[in-house]
Amino acid sequence: MTLELILQQLLAGLGTSLKIFGLTLLFSLPLGLLVSFGRMSKITPLRGLMKVYISILRGTPLMLQLFVVYFGPYYIFGKQITPSYRLTAVIIGFVLNYAAYFAEIFRSGIESMPQGQYEAAEVLGYTKRQTFFKIIFPQVIKRILPPITNETITLVKDTSLAFSIAVAEMFTVAKALAAAQRSMVPFAAAGIFYYVFNFVVAFAMERIEKRLSYYK
C-alpha cells in the first residue's frame, strides 16, 4: 500500500471525524446555553434537574453514554435499531455530553458579569431580554472563548470514541491500516492530521478572540 493510499484512506476517515466535530459543535453550544439557563433558573426543580443532568453527563464516560444512546432503544424499549442510526447516535451522545460541559462554561461567564450592569440597564429602560442579549451575552462570549477553545480541541480528539459503536472515524482507519500493513506509518500520519486539525481550530479561535476584543 502506498503512502498516497494511506493518506487517502485517512482523509476519508477525517471526513467522518469532521462531521462528528461540526455537528456536535453546532448543536451542543445552543443546548449548553439552554442548560446553563436551567442551571441558573429560579425554579428549584428545573435547577435541580439540570444539576443532575450535568452531574451524570460529566460523571460517566462518554463511551458508556454512546452505548446507552445507540443500544438503549433496543435494550430498554425493544425497538429494533438500524445501521443508519449509528452516526445519529454518535451525534446525540456527543451533543448531550458536550452540552453539559459547555453549560458550565456559559454559567461561569454569565455569573461573572457584575450586578451593576444589570442595574444600569434597568435604569436605562432595557427589558430583561434586551439586557441579556445586547449587553451581557456579547461580553460573556468574549470571556469564555479560551475555555471553549479548550473543549473544542478536546472534542477533535474525542471523535475517536465513535468507534465504540462502530462508526469508523480517522483513528479507527489508522488502527486498521496499521494492523493490515504491520507498520507505524498510519499512526504517525494520523497524529499529524490531528495536530493540523487542532492547529486550524486554535488559529480560528484566536482570530475570533482578536476580532471580539474591539475595546482594546
Binding site: M1, L5, Q8, Q9, L49, V52, Y53, I56, L57, T60, L64, Q65, F67, V68, V69, F71, G72, Y74, Y75, I76, G78, Q80, I81, T82, P83, R86, L96, F163, S164, I165, A166, A168, T172, V173, K175, A176, L177, A178, A179, A180, R182, M184
Partner: protein, 279 residues
Amino acid sequence: MKKILAVIMASAVVVGLLSGCGSKEVEKASEEIQKAAEVVEENLEEGKGTFTVGFDQEFPPYGYVGDDGEFTGFDLDLAAEVANRLDLELVLTPIDWDAKDMELNSGAIDCIWSGFTINGREDLYTWSKPYTDNSQVFVVKKASGIEDFDDLAGSIVEVQTDSSAQQALDSEEFAELKATFDDYILVPNYNQAFMDLESGAVDAVAMDIGVARFQIEGKEDTYRILEEPIVSELYGIGFLKGNEELRDKVQEAMDEIVADGTFAAISNKYFGYDVGLSE
C-alpha cells in the same frame, strides 16, 4: 426532561446488563429470536435483503483493510460468496470487539464472522458448522531463547481481551502455567500486542496461529511460534442464539462452497493451502 430521564434509566439498565444480571436477558431472548426471524423474513420477501456481517477489522488475514483500501480477508471473501449465492446484499460492518454481543443482540449485525472461535462459546451463539481449525500459540522473539512452555516462566505474556487465547489461558488447565508468568497483560487488539513484542515491552504474545503467521510473515528471522499449541480449536460463524433460520441458509451455501472447490480457492489465496476441515 423526558430525554434526561430516559438517559438516567438507560444508564441504570446498561450498568445492570454489564454487571451481568441474567434474568432480563432470558426474558428478552425469546423476543429477540422472534424479531430476528421477522427481519430475515421481511428481507427475503422484499427480495433485496441484506446480510450484515460484523467483524474485527484488525484481524488479518481473516478480516482487514486490503492494499486497495477495501475490506478484505479470508472470512470476508467467504461471506461475500455466501451472500452472492443467497442473493443477498453483503454489508460489512467493522465492529468494536467489546461490543460484539450488543451489536448482535440488537440486530445491528446478522452474524459475527471474524475468525470466531466456537470452543468455550458453544452455548452463547447459534453456530454454523466449523469451517476451519485454529490453534492458539505463543509468539516470541527468537533472540529471547524461549522454546517451550517451561521457558515462559518469569516472562511477560500479553493477550487480546476476550480472545480465545485469553479464554484458554484463563481456564483452570493453564492456571499453573499462568502462575509462572512474571506478568499477564490484556490489550485491545493483536496489533498492539505485536507492537509490544516488537519493542520488547513483553516477551510473548498468545494468539491465533493464522494471525501469528500473517504477523511474522517476512520476519521469520526475528520471531518464533512455539511448536506446542496452547489449545486447538475450531472457527465458525456465530449467529444470534436461536436464529436457526438464517444459520441454515448460510450453512447450505457454505456446504456448496466447500463442495465445488470455491472454499479451497479462497483458502489458497490467503494461506497458500486448503485450511478446510476434512470430515
